[in-house]
């Protein structure tokens, strides 16, 4: 398959491409950047990093604390009066840094990045579908692919945090089956490559994308459903941008469920009691894909009352870590801050639509000294919906 060429850009190109030179130094980005707020070692902000880039000081950009710790949550771009795409700039610059052998520090001993790299082996025969039970109907002839992403792997790596992991995948198939959709779950699906791309490892990303695209096209399916917002965003926007255009509809599960509700293809049982929950907007689903209403509509339809956090939708605070990189005290502060905001709503449960948000929040909850403040129950949207389905 002919892929798009990997042309190495210079810092100037990346500055121009992301409109970085239009920065007015107004500092709105610094006011919202969660890293700027919690990084106490030295003052660092998107504005100052941009300034270094415009001055042409590449080394200073690479050495900035924000360079590898940027969460790419896009809160800065959301407010920027000049539409500087700071996260796009960071993504581009990280690929330049990699050419100089500079890499971010993986907080999980590189396990996740390494298994993704192993997945670039073309003759790899993964054994990743053992979790499928008799209750989940799948078919290789389906026109809908369910892309499960790294869920089976996270289920093992994060088993100590009681993360929902494969229950999310089982629930997604249950929901689809209930609506008469028998999805195709691919035997040899690879990691979508999101973390590699945002970490600047464009070569690995392209290889993963090429292998995934070959599999997608060979199935003859028309649409792909994912339960991970990062997979959805990457397949929808970054595969055509960095690898190959392909003619398939990409949906996040919340979009599919909203569609199924509108078409009256799934029904919910009448709840005994309406639970009050609050919702965490995953960055890729919210600010990147603009999907704020679908997950909320789905939650309400499933019989939950929604209480909004102080910061929600475009202003939602990130779960605190991105690409499994540079997680430390700063990130724990952000997670604690968000969990406290969730607790302050008075809701009994925090619902999110992203496995990574759940992993990060559950990890922050390991801090026993803050148990009463941040101990809110955390659940995934997909599993909640599956539990509320009509029998």
């Amino acid at each position: 398959m002919p892929g798009k060429k990997n042309t190495m850009k210079t810092m100037d190109d990346i500055v121009k491409q992301n409109q970085v030179m239009l920065c007015l130094t107004c500092g709105k980005c610094s006011a919202v950047c969660p890293i700027t707020r919690w990084e106490k070692r030295i003052y660092t902000s998107p504005r100052l990093l941009v300034e270094k880039a415009v001055e042409g000081n590449q080394t200073a950009v690479f050495n900035d604390l924000l360079f590898w710790s940027c969460l790419s949550c896009r809160q800065c771009t959301e407010l920027c009066p000049s539409q500087v795409d700071f996260c796009g700039f960071i993504k581009g610059m990280r690929s330049l840094a990699r050419a100089e052998d500079l890499v971010g520090e993986c907080s999980h001993g590189n396990a996740i990045h390494t298994w993704s790299k192993i997945m670039t082996q073309p003759d790899l025969r993964q054994n990743r579908l053992d979790w499928l039970g008799d209750d989940q109907k799948v078919s290789e002839q389906s026109d809908t692919i369910y892309f499960i992403g790294c869920l089976p792997y996270y289920d093992v790596l994060f088993q100590d945090t009681d993360v929902e992991g494969l229950n999310i995948a089982r629930s997604a198939i249950t929901i689809m089956n209930r609506a008469g959709i028998v999805p195709h779950v691919m035997k040899n699906e690879r990691c979508c490559g999101h973390d590699q791309l945002w970490e600047g490892d464009v070569d690995t990303f392209r290889e993963l994308a090429r292998l995934n695209l070959e599999s997608f096209i060979s199935t003859g399916a028309k649409r792909i459903v994912t339960t991970c917002p990062e997979c959805a965003f990457t397949l929808k926007y970054d595969y055509p941008r960095y690898a190959e255009e392909f003619d398939m509809e990409i949906l996040h599960i919340s979009q599919l469920i909203a569609e199924l509700i509108d078409q009256d293809r799934i029904g919910f049982k009448e709840p005994e009691k309406h639970y009050a929950v609050t919702y965490q907007d995953p960055c890729r689903l919210g600010r990147y894909m603009g999907l704020y209403d679908e997950p909320r509509r789905v939650l309400k339809k499933s019989g939950y009352d929604l209480l909004e956090m102080e910061k929600n939708k475009t202003a939602a605070l990130c779960c605190g870590t991105s690409c499994w990189t540079s997680c430390g005290q700063v990130n724990k502060h952000i997670q604690t801050e968000r969990l406290m905001q969730a607790g302050n709503t008075g809701a009994g449960m925090l619902v999110t639509a992203c496995i990574k948000c759940q992993i990060h929040f559950r990890c922050a909850q390991k801090d026993r000294s803050l148990k009463d403040d941040i101990g809110i129950n955390i659940r995934d949207l997909t599993t909640l919906v599956a539990e509320s389905l009509e029998r």
Partner: protein, 125 residues
Amino acid sequence: METAGVEGISYDSRVIPIRLTCMGRISIGIILKAFEQGAMGVLMLGCPKDECQYDTGMHRAEEVMGKTKKILGLLGYSEDRIGLDCLEAGKGKAFADRVGEFMTRLTAGHPASRETTKATFARSG
């Protein structure tokens, strides 16, 4: 390993030793990295459980081993390709035997393979 060297005991030349200060330092990432770079198997040789200077070294290694086996299983690798064993300090012959046994187990199914086998072990004592 040093004792094996001093005593002139040879072991398979395809083995690449990687030293760790304690078996508790092993992580899933390190083991996966060996496989990513083409290793056929990873053998971890640490100190006997009750002789750990840091108390929990081998217990941690067992936890890591359990998770890594599952992840390797998902990636389609056989469980036999990873092993955890313990060895007292200064036993050159026993070291060569353990490595030899592991190599025989690995190469049993792949006689023609020329892949490298990596042996990761913690220095005892």
